[in-house]
């Protein structure tokens, strides 16, 4: 079971690195919003793997909170991004 968790964490880590690459490269700020949303989901995934590994349910409210905040952040960033690029 430990090997499974190691493989899962490596895959999620590589996915997060790829999303961070897109976050840095852009090219538009909307690309960055999308990439940041993916990073938030991967954070949820990693926290879920932690919960599964330690069988510790006390971190699960954290998952709900991160999901909520990530949604608000992405929507706000999407609206502000289009407004700023229009003035360019």
């Amino acid at each position: 079971m430990g090997a499974v968790f190691a493989v899962v964490l490596v895959m999620v880590g590589v996915a997060a690195a790829l999303a961070l690459y897109r976050l840095l490269r852009g090219p538009s700020s909307l690309d960055r919003v999308v990439a940041l949303d993916v990073v938030v989901v991967l954070t949820l995934v990693a926290a879920g793997v932690y919960v599964a590994y330690y069988r510790d349910g006390s971190n699960i409210p954290l998952l709900a909170a991160v999901a909520l905040v990530g949604f608000v952040g992405s929507t706000a960033a999407a609206r502000l991004a289009v407004r700023r690029e229009r003035h360019r």
Binding site: V7, V8, L30, V34, I60, T75, A81
Partner: protein, 132 residues
């Protein structure tokens, strides 16, 4: 503490679910880097990530007690509801700021609803005709 499911079978099912979930997340992230333009990347960013999160949290839910598992189902439900909202908002913002190359669109139904003189990417009046 009583897990939702115990025993070697539950462990194997949980491990398989988590492996497929992580694979889905990884494929989505590869698509995010490799695909050529924003609408294509939106596909890679929302659907595989939602599927991956659902599978991983389902695998997690098998290993924790029932009350925690119910909260995990809520998290999945919330993600399933909000991912299309973010995708739609970002897609619309991209369309309005000229992020969609014209030649990649097969059908452009939104153009019929915008003012005739509005140019995609340069439409200062568009907001006054309706909320976006």
């Amino acid at each position: 503490m009583n897990p939702v499911a115990a025993g070697p079978v539950a462990d194997v099912v949980s491990a398989v679910l988590m492996l497929f979930g992580a694979l889905s997340c990884l494929l989505g992230a590869i698509g995010l880097v490799r695909l050529p333009d924003l609408p294509a990347r939106l596909q890679a960013a929302t659907k595989p990530q939602t599927l991956g999160l659902s599978l991983i949290l389902l695998g997690t839910a098998l290993r924790v007690e029932l009350a925690s598992a119910v909260t995990l189902v809520l998290v999945v439900l919330f993600q399933v509801i909000t991912a299309p909202v973010i995708s739609q908002l970002v897609g619309r913002a991209a369309y309005r700021s000229g992020g969609f190359p014209d030649d990649t669109l097969v059908v452009d139904e939104l153009a019929e609803h915008l003012p005739a003189d509005a140019v995609v990417g340069d439409e200062p009046d568009a907001d006054r005709h309706g909320r976006d």
